[in-house]
């Protein structure tokens, strides 16, 4: 949080607060969460289950409206889905009744635009899905489905890519492969990426900064800089620096869970929680 930069952040999250109305009363998912994401940065958000990571990301995407606070894209408040923002969802989220080509064309269909064939071909080649355009999602492995979802998200050339635990369902080898792919794509496009994950290793490997959220209600606990050079090799993951950083973050998350709830932190005024 020390970056007192004068430039406008790509994404500015300011005291973001989100309350869900559930059958058993209101649920405070995010409590005055603040962080800045700079242009061309990869920021990962980690935290215990149910800490509001996904809620934060969906709010950044404009799919959910915040209850309080605001999120700014290039200084302008996000009030709904924006074409500059691409999303990669959990479990690929491909439409099973469409083949790969039709899935990647989906955003263009919705917008009534002509797909940029050359760019899509380039992306498909980048992620190694050449010649799979006629295949249906059920015919592809989980990793391939998620690659296709990345292509779909990048097809419209967004300036921000939001990734919501994209590789959570993949095995660890495929996952490492996908992480390297994301880095390659980032080196290629320099798209600002916000990456939600459960995996601290994944967060460190990919990110310029790792944001740790507290247990619900989600709140920024700590932000770590990850200074390693890119492209990062898998070997750096075995260094002592990474090991120490991983442990620190782990302690932040686990310690948070073990520690009794801190009553001294008051909730936001607009939020009332019924038991």
């Amino acid at each position: 949080m020390s970056t007192a930069s004068a430039r406008t952040p790509k994404l500015g999250v300011q005291a973001a607060t989100k309350v869900y109305q559930t059958g058993s009363g209101d649920l405070l998912a995010l409590d005055r969460c603040s962080l800045d994401v700079q242009s061309n940065e990869i920021v990962s958000i980690v935290g215990p289950s149910g800490c509001g990571k996904t809620t934060l990301l969906w709010s950044m995407s404009g799919l959910h409206r915040l209850t309080g606070g605001s999120i700014l894209l290039d200084g302008k408040e996000i009030t709904g889905p924006r074409p500059e923002i691409g999303i990669v969802f959990q479990e690929a989220n491909l439409l099973p009744w469409r083949n790969l080509d039709a899935n990647i064309n989906f955003p263009f269909e919705i917008k009534g635009e002509k797909p940029d064939r050359a760019w899509i071909a380039h992306l498909l080649n980048r992620v190694g899905l050449d010649g799979f355009g006629g295949k249906f999602p059920r015919e592809l492995s989980g990793g391939m489905q998620q690659r296709a979802a990345i292509v779909r998200a990048l097809a419209l050339k967004p300036s921000v890519l939001l990734m919501d635990e994209p590789f959570g369902a993949l095995d660890s080898f495929t996952r490492e492969e996908m992480n390297r792919l994301v880095e390659e794509i980032w080196l290629d496009t320099k798209t600002t990426i916000v990456f939600i994950t459960h995996s601290i290793e994944e967060a460190i490997f990919l990110s310029d900064r790792v944001v740790v959220l507290t247990t619900r209600p989600g709140h920024v606990a700590k932000i770590y800089d990850v200074p390693f050079q890119r492209p990062r090799s898998l070997e750096i993951m075995a260094t002592k620096e990474v090991f120490d950083l991983t442990n620190k973050i782990k302690m932040d998350i686990v310690g948070e869970r073990v520690r009794p709830k801190t009553p001294e932190r008051p909730s936001a005024e607009i939020v009332r929680i019924r038991p």
């Binding site: 799919l63 959910h64 409206r65 989220n93 439409l95 989906f106 919501d164």
Partner: protein, 282 residues
């Protein structure tokens, strides 16, 4: 506004992906024209030959009179012999079935699509829909004949009334299978409500819609034949009552054979449509 959002949820159970709704998974129809190996086909045909041959033999050996049960050979003979006389009636029945089904299916589909957009209205209407589904529309035929005479009209209305609710209740189940992640995907590209309907909800509902159309068509066939038996001098149902009153049992069974062929064709038709357009679910 913000309170209306649902907590992001990706579990398969909630999105309804786990439901078995494809035509091929309907256990009642599992014996239909699935993909079968040559050996299986041969076995099915062999069973048919054994059963039909056995019936033929038994009826002849025990000298069972024709008015109790005609032998299969005489049914087949009657089918070819009488077909020129039966064919026009097949045409009448098809006209009733196709026009009544078309009306019922369109109304049922539109109502399902509209009603599922308003969960509250759906809750209020649900019990009445159930009454429409469970009431045999055949029961209304005498009344309809009283009102509209012995022509096509009462029969077409009865077919529409029988098929419509079946289509509607199944299509509504399909439209209710909301997958919040897929709708969020469309919304993230700025999709309108109409686009979400045509590009997400409708394709997701398609397998259930096809099930509804198939059940509706078969109910329509039942109702058409039943209505023809009640009154009016034409249609396959009328042939059934006419042949049985004259104890022309081979001809009677020939008509039954035509009706079951019609039913199978309906099933095969929707099976093939499902295989082409909704096979992504299996």
């Amino acid at each position: 506004m913000s309170g209306g959002d649902a907590i992001p949820e990706f579990s398969k159970a909630k999105s309804g992906d786990g439901q078995d709704v494809s035509l091929t998974n309907l256990s009642a129809f599992a014996s239909g024209p699935g993909i079968k190996s040559g050996g299986e086909v041969a076995a099915i045909l062999a069973v048919a030959v054994v059963i039909i041959g056995g019936i033929e033999l038994a009826l002849r050996v025990f000298h069972v009179p024709q008015y109790i049960m005609p032998p299969p050979s005489s049914i087949v003979y009657a089918l070819f012999d009488e077909f020129p006389l039966i064919a026009p009636h097949l045409g009448y029945t098809l006209v009733e079935l196709v026009s009544g089904f078309a009306i019922g299916a369109v109304v049922g589909l539109v109502m399902a699509a509209v009603i599922t957009q308003f969960p509250f209205a759906e809750k209020i209407v649900a019990p009445y829909i159930l009454i429409l589904v469970t009431t045999p529309m055949l029961a209304l035929v005498p009344l309809l004949i009283l009102r509209f005479g012995f022509g096509y009209t009462p029969r077409i209305i009865a077919v529409a009334l029988a098929a419509g609710p079946m289509v509607m209740i199944n299509a509504a189940t399909g439209f209710r299978r909301v997958d919040s992640a897929k709708i969020a995907l469309a919304r993230s590209y700025g999709a309108s409500t109409l686009q979400i309907f045509w590009k997400i909800r409708a394709p997701m509902a398609l397998p259930m819609i096809l099930v509804g159309l198939m059940i509706g068509a078969i109910f329509g066939l039942l109702t058409a034949v039943g209505a023809e038996m009640v009154g009016g001098g034409f249609g396959l149902g009328n042939r059934l009552t006419s042949y049985s009153s004259m104890i022309q049992m081979p001809q009677f069974f020939a008509v039954v054979l035509i009706l079951s062929t019609l039913g199978i064709l309906i099933y095969v038709l929707f099976f093939l449509i499902g295989k082409k357009w909704a096979s992504w679910e299996t």
